[in-house]
């Protein structure tokens, strides 16, 4: 079962990227406090993303002719691993670099590629993905935002919600119904590029329980788009989204979201000289190592040209379980020693991760949806 998901190694030429990206990170994030760095891929800095693009670390997997670097998914793994484990603020370019640009490369027209991919590689065009709606969460096929083709262009009406970074983004690639009704399920859905500065678009940030506003609701009222807004085939949006999700679900962000907290806690127990948590440190270290190997194995399927949808779901479900366990067991360890001082920074980091952790198994497919995908891969549905 899932026989091709086996141990794989990062090639030396991709490992060779590590010193340069590490030096870049050291130079740019040293002054960011730990509880900000714990935001990981939710930490937003347009300036950092532009600098990263200038330094040549964006668009690693994209062809050189579009401003990319012509490398493979392993190269991206190395750079992303360094960024995430250090807690670099990568949110600004994250979605464009990971999903939007590969999507446009696979399904977009030559004009769409020229317009967007080089700017994404420079860290200058920021994208968000319009999936969820008030009535469509896990059941994405029920989206009701509609686009009508009216003499040379599209007119969009409807609403998206929980859209990560919509308020900072230049464009949204939205899953929209272009024909049929919700009864047609996946049929009749298409992906459209929406310029978020277009008249009729309203973006309202939503504040989360940590005080951050990283997602938003987006309203479309008679938003007029050119006929070049369609990505790929009309009515094929669902298939395109599924292919895209393999990129979203398999990456190291699904194992390293809490890495800053893990390291902060280890520093703490080292500083107080405590040995009673050795077994816990060992268990967490082993799980992180296994997840890293699983994530590299999944990346190897991308390298082989596959779209490892089921394998990516396996890595994401297990990875987010680990990320969510970390703040639980670390909180217990610290509070099991009520007379031991805990730094303000570690305390804030722990509580930030504790509070945001439920989102880890919501974004990019809930735990229950992922397990359903895995079960389908096992032939059970």
């Amino acid at each position: 079962m899932f026989d091709t998901l086996t141990l794989a190694q990062l090639p030396p030429e991709d490992e060779a990227l590590r010193p340069a990206i590490r030096a870049f990170i050291d130079q740019h994030i040293a002054s960011i406090p730990m509880d900000r760095r714990a935001r990981s891929w939710q930490g937003f800095s347009a300036e950092f993303s532009r600098a990263l693009g200038q330094a040549g670390f964006l668009g690693l997997t994209l062809p050189k002719e579009y401003g990319g670097h012509g490398k493979g998914p392993f190269a991206r793994f190395v750079v992303v691993e360094e960024l995430l484990s250090a807690g670099a603020p990568v949110a600004a370019h994250w979605i464009a670099d990971r999903q939007s640009a590969p999507l446009l490369l696979n399904f977009g027209t030559e004009a769409q590629r020229r317009k967007h991919i080089p700017a994404i590689c420079r860290g200058e065009q920021l994208f968000c993905i319009g999936m969820s709606e008030p009535g469509s969460g896990s059941d994405l096929a029920s989206v009701r935002t509609r686009a009508e083709l009216t003499g040379g262009g599209w007119v969009v009406n409807g609403q998206k919600i929980w859209t990560t970074n919509a308020m900072h983004s230049d464009y949204m690639i939205a899953l929209i119904r272009t024909s049929g009704t919700s009864a047609d399920r996946q049929g009749g859905l298409s992906q459209l590029i929406i310029d978020l500065k277009a008249p009729g678009v309203t973006v309202r940030p939503i504040v989360d329980l940590t005080g951050d506003a990283h997602f938003a609701e987006v309203f479309f009222e008679n938003v007029e788009l050119g006929d070049d807004a369609l990505v790929g085939q009309e009515g094929e949006g669902w298939k395109q989204v599924v292919a895209e999700l393999a990129f979203e679900r398999s990456g190291p962000e699904r194992i390293y979201s809490s890495a800053v907290l893990l390291d902060a806690w280890i520093k703490h127990v080292q500083a107080v000289g405590r040995k009673d948590c050795e077994a816990l440190v060992g268990r967490l270290t082993a799980e992180l190592a296994t997840l890293r190997a699983m994530s590299i194995a999944c990346t190897a399927r991308l390298v082989a040209g596959e779209s490892p949808v089921v394998e990516a779901s396996i890595v994401k479900d297990r990875g987010t379980g680990f990320e969510q366990e970390l703040p639980v067991v670390i909180a217990d360890d610290l509070a099991a020693h009520p007379d031991e001082a805990v730094s303000e920074e570690l305390y804030r980091t722990l509580l930030y991760v504790t509070h945001i952790a439920p989102s880890f198994s919501l974004r990019g497919g809930t735990r229950e949806i992922l397990r359903g995908i895995i079960a389908r891969g096992m032939g059970l549905r």
Binding site: M1, F2, L5, T6, L7, E81, S85, A86, Y256, A259, L262, D263, I266, K267, V269, Q270, K275, C277, E278, A279, L280, V281, G282, R283, T285, A286, E287, L288, A289, T290, L291, R292, A293, M294, A297, I314, D317, R318, E368, L370, R371, G372, I374, A375, G377, M378, G379, L380, R381
Partner: protein
């Protein structure tokens, strides 16, 4: 080399020579000699022996899928252990005995397949000792159908150099691969059973609750496979951190995998005549052999806490490199 060129003949040989009826007969006290002869004649026992000593010169990583195949079939002999022992003996210039060899990393707890091993390679701490199993007075544990043996005494015999981190990390990686193999088979048979067994008018595998359980089982199975491969990727000089990762991941998953397999099968799964128990009993035995997840977690935690590196760096340098 293409792994299938190696794996296919090995699997064919095992399927012919060690079907469940043979496993049961040996567990019930029957002779293992015929099965051992088949395995010995296949030539695989010298897979890790260097070519200059007449072996196949393969690496532990090369043969990890073979060890999984042994685990998946509940082979009632210490085949993986013998393969490792023969390589260590050959590189030390010590002649290997003909029969099955158990790896012994502690005299205090039962040794898997101890009742069917003829020789023992024991880690004395300063050197490895090769001795006859009879010297250690192997005794049954009293656990039904178990081939594990209680041993006692003081192993004496020819000595050979001890691998850098001792025998236990190697043995732990073998257990990890055996667990991974059994986990893969259990995933297959449990999924197949869930697709066939009809209750409430439909296969039980159509129930979402079972689908979710089986999906987690598959995740555990993949984690076991990849952790075992990670452990086996360093040859016979296994770094402690790599052995620990392999054994912690597989040993913690083993009871979960056994529990799900039994939960899905219902009552028939705990009957003696059904093959499930051949695998689930072994999962528990291998979990406890050569250090459970608790033992290895302390070992790994101690190493980790001794350095100031960031976790991801530390893992790259100590588990992967």
């Amino acid at each position: 080399m293409d792994i299938n060129e190696l794996l296919e003949p090995f699997v064919r040989m095992l399927d012919a020579a060690a079907p469940p009826a043979v496993v049961r007969a040996i567990e019930h006290g029957g002779s293992a000699a015929a099965l051992w002869d088949e395995i010995a004649q296949s030539g695989f026992l010298d897979a890790l022996v260097a070519e200059e000593y007449g072996g196949a010169g393969l690496s532990l990583a090369d043969i990890e899928p073979l060890i999984e195949a042994l685990g998946a079939r509940a082979v009632p002999l210490p085949v993986a252990e013998t393969i490792v022992a023969r390589a260590l003996l050959a590189s030390a210039g010590v002649a290997a005995p003909d029969g099955p060899i158990a790896l012994v990393t502690s005299l205090a707890q039962p040794v898997p397949c101890g009742l069917v091993a003829q020789a023992v390679l024991f880690d004395r701490g300063d050197a490895l000792v090769l001795c006859e199993m009879a010297q250690l007075s192997p005794e049954q544990t009293g656990v039904t159908n178990s081939l594990a043996a209680r041993i006692s005494g003081n192993p004496e015999g020819q000595t050979l150099p001890r691998p850098g981190t001792g025998l236990r990390p190697i043995a732990a990686v073998l257990r990890a691969a055996l667990i991974a193999g059994a986990a893969a088979r259990l995933c297959d048979v449990t999924t197949a059973y869930a697709s066939e067994r009809v209750q409430f008018g439909k296969p039980i595998g159509r129930q979402q609750s079972l689908q979710q359980m089986l999906a987690v089982m598959a995740e555990d199975m993949i984690a076991c496979r990849i952790a075992a491969q990670l452990g086996a990727s360093h040859g016979l000089e296994v770094p402690l951190a790599a052995a620990a990762t392999a054994k912690i991941t597989t040993s913690s998953a083993a009871p979960r995998i056994a529990a799900t397999a039994h939960a899905v099968h219902g009552a028939i799964g705990i009957s003696e005549e059904y093959d499930l128990q051949l695998l689930t009993r072994r999962l528990h035995e291998w979990r406890m052999a050569d250090g459970s997840e608790g033992y290895w977690s302390r070992v790994l935690g101690q190493q980790r806490l001794a350095t100031t590196a960031m976790s991801v760096d530390w893992i790259r340098q100590n588990v992967f490199a």
